[in-house]
């Protein structure tokens, strides 16, 4: 049986950031931003 592609890169540099931590912080920052935005939205319109 054919094995999954052996040429796959398992350790690869994160694009745009120095490491993947940059991306993870972006995701967390985006989540915090959305929660704050939704909170302000909730308060403003209620």
């Amino acid at each position: 049986m054919t094995e999954p592609n052996k040429e796959l890169k398992t350790e690869e540099k994160a694009p745009f950031f120095k490491s993947w931590k940059g991306w993870y912080l972006l995701v967390l920052g985006n989540l915090v931003f959305l929660i704050i935005l939704f909170y302000l939205f909730t308060n403003h319109y209620s």
């Binding site: 999954p4 592609n5 796959l8 398992t10 993947w20 991306w23 995701v27 989540l31 909170y39 319109y45």
Partner: protein
Amino acid sequence: MSLIDWTVLLGTLLFIVVYGVWKSRGSRNINDYFLGDNSMKWGTIGLSVMATQASAITFLSTPGLAYESGMAFVQNYFGLPIAIIIVSAVFIPIFYKLKVYTAYEFLENRFDLKTRSLGAFLFLVQRGLAAGITIYAPAIILSTMLKWDLSLTILITGVLVVIYTVSGGTKAVSLTQKYQMAVIMGGMFIAFFMIIDYLPDYLSFNNAIHIAGKMGKLEAVDFSLNPEKRYTIWTGLTGGLFLALSYFGTDQSQVQRYLTGTSVAESRLGLIFNAILKVPMQFFILFVGVMVFVFYQFVQPPLFFKQAEMEQIYSTEYRDQVEQLESAYNQNFEVKKQQLEDLVVAMDKNESEKVASLTAQVQQSDAEAKEIRGELKDLLLANDPEVETKDSDYVFLTFIMNYLPKGVIGLLLAVIFSAAMSSTSGELNALGSTTSVDFYKRLIKKEGSDKHYLIASKLLTAFWGIVAIGFALFARLLENLIEAVNILGSIFYGTILGIFLVAFFVKFVKGNAVFIAAVIAQIIVIVSFYTFEISYLWYNAIGCALVVLISMLLQLILSGVNGSSNSGHTA
């Protein structure tokens, strides 16, 4: 439905199916068939992950949920980005390093064969039944609303999915999902702008949102610690994290989507795409439902959105009472509409005292409208104690059918079918790969040619397609089936996640300990389910915690008894 609608609906669906079959033709081996020859870029992976998660019920039920109870449901997704970070950082590199086809192969590498088989078996039971419901749930709503034959609706949806999923495998699933997501989001945006366009001329978009807010529909974040509240930021960040971690980390229907990437980076970016966009997307779908709610404050809504139930009760002794309720509901609507019109004028003039007074009046009228609907539901139950009185799933479809123009109706129905097909294809693909790789290739026929395994994989995917269609056809004979499948999912999901969490994070635990712990945990969960009356969602957490704790305890005991570790390998 008009000829234009049929043309748009069938044209869209057939184009996607034919395109998927054509573009993915000629799979040579099972790497190609199940992992798309690891050729997918992050954009395709991201859309594929999103499309697998978003079923037709997402687009039918979510706007209805917002219509009924507002935006609070969005909080359920707050844990998802955190879960994706964990999956990206911990799960993906190991899956790639071990070059696995399924998540359960990792369990053999980390523990042993029996633990792998147990994990794969639990997935097949749970996802095999869920695939049937993914087809059945929208079919029952569409057939009820449009008076289509239920069996025919199920067969058409199911057969179309089986054709391209079996013929093209993962590549066909991912490619079609990309276009299905385009149809879904395009259709939802068009619906949203049409709803805004249908609002009265004197009502600005800003005032429409203010009205929704004043009627309690925009509470998107709730910091309350009250455990009786179903959706708060805390339940979202804990329960939502837990569910998303189970789903993205251990459910093969998702794992297979991101394992098709050319590299770890592409897979991670595909998931991060979801981590960033999923919450705003759910917010938008809920917001569409809120705008439908505002629309129905100025255009008379039906007393009950399930028209078939109304037609049925009209032929009974309750007819007079229902007519009285309808009359009261219509009167209430006219009074509330006038109050809202006055409120809009007061808001435009910045008359804060008048705004406060009219807001209170509108809220009072809204409460009365809810009471009238409650009385109708009591009558429906008195007439038939088995009847489902929740009609929110029918709200958005009622709006589509009654108010959207020709052509757009066809497009929105294509949205619903696309969503049903995209999630079903991901599920069938995963069921086929798990059965082929974790059972057939591993336990039944260990040595075979590429061609042999390719044919076997196609046959097994087709088998699961037939099971899903058969289950969907049979589903109408069972009461509360959707809830039954959700319960089944909650009962097994916790155990599977527990096994994976031990595999990744509790390095000293080995194969025998985790296997025995999983079996004990599963038995305790099943016995508890029949013994205690707690919400079935808790069994996710209970099953997972039991596996982790019992396996650690057992490992300590076994290590003490043997003086050394028992069987199993460490990743």
